[in-house]
Subunit: 196 residues, 2 copies
DNA sequence: GAGGGCGAGTAGACACTGTCTACGTGCTCC
DNA sequence: GGAGCACGTAGACAGTGTCTACTCGCCCTC
């Protein structure tokens, strides 16, 4: 099945995914995406009434990829006999790895101004992903009063690390490009020191 | 000194600050700012060669306000006899408070795509602010090997909380609009349980 | 005091954007 | 075989950021 055979809807999303990976969010102009998909600027309108809905579809693809990446990393950790802490380490690394590998997509996924309208639906896609986090945190800290709160706090930490690295502040402050010590510190703080 | 007396440079920045507070980042069009300042769309060019430089000047104002807010909160905490932990609590609350009070400005300040070019200079303004954080963390954990790393990890957590709240994910996950438990959890995780 | 120079702001052009609308065009189905 | 229609094209429109004349008013100099 060639690129031309797929329906335009899928081709437009694929073009957006490719453009955002190479040129960042600012490369996601409506006409630019249409050009990249080889159609006129009016064509997308048939499938996406507005530019934002097209962007939302691209972001939805990103959420799907993120979910897959996390599931894959978790499965790998489970395969090596990792416990709850090891799995959380792997998930956290995968989250930051996704943000580093495709920073444009990561930015798009959390640019609520571009996704307004579809935001609620996209937010919901992160919920199941979040549940496995909560389960692991609960397993690690059986006595915790509210594992959801603890998990949300941890996730915020990961998210902040991803954002501040993208912005360049971390390098400026710690003097190093390496987020790994920061990630380790965050995980240790929230989950207790890792067993070695 | 009326608004008309100030030089246009300051008036444009003031207009931008006002617009971003009421309409968010998307209200910061070059022509929109010029209109709001009562001049033609070509006028800003004399002071800001490009739109982005004007946005950077507005963001710089935001960083100044944030610095002031944090310094004020810290001074207040010191005045009530707070120790290192109490001061960090106050600083963290002020950081999140700033982000909640002026979310548009907060977003602009970390939109590297809009500030490209002036980004490095703006990033530098956060450094002294960060140093007081590091000093307090070092005071709290004298045995820590690298307080800068621990502080950067904590700051990332605060930043992530601010971002995810703005995006709306936290409410969806914890079921509550209230970030306070999350902030408490983050501070406890990084700094140890608060002394009561 | 008259005149030249210049800083400051205006106004229009330009290429570009997202949206809207009228128009082909080729396929399907009765 | 012809009607209907899903699909994509092409142009118009208002808006954007940037660039380039152009004008106006003030200061400095002779």
């Amino acid at each position: 099945m060639t690129d031309q055979d797929r329906d335009l809807r899928a081709r437009l999303v694929a073009a957006g995914v490719e453009l955002v990976a190479t040129g960042g969010v600012q490369a996601l102009g409506l006409r630019e995406i249409a050009r990249h998909a080889g159609v006129s600027h009016g064509a997308p309108r048939r499938y996406f009434p507005t530019h934002r809905e097209l962007l939302a579809a691209i972001a939805r693809d990103g959420f799907g990829r993120l979910t897959d990446a996390l599931a894959g990393a978790d499965a790998l950790a489970v395969g090596t006999g990792a416990g709850a802490r090891g799995r959380l380490d792997a998930l956290a690394r995968a989250y930051l790895g996704f943000a580093a590998a495709d920073p444009g997509m990561f930015e798009l996924m959390f640019r609520h101004d571009l996704l307004e309208g579809s935001g609620a639906e996209l937010r919901r896609t992160t919920v199941p992903l979040f549940r496995t986090f909560v389960g692991l945190v609960a397993e690690l800290h059986p006595g915790s009063d509210d594992p959801a709160v603890a998990t949300a706090a941890l996730w915020s930490n990961l998210h902040g690390l991803a954002q501040l690295r993208a912005w360049g502040s971390l390098r400026l402050i710690t003097g190093s490009e390496d987020v790994d010590p920061l990630l380790r510190a965050a995980l240790d703080a929230h989950l207790g020191p890792a067993a070695r």
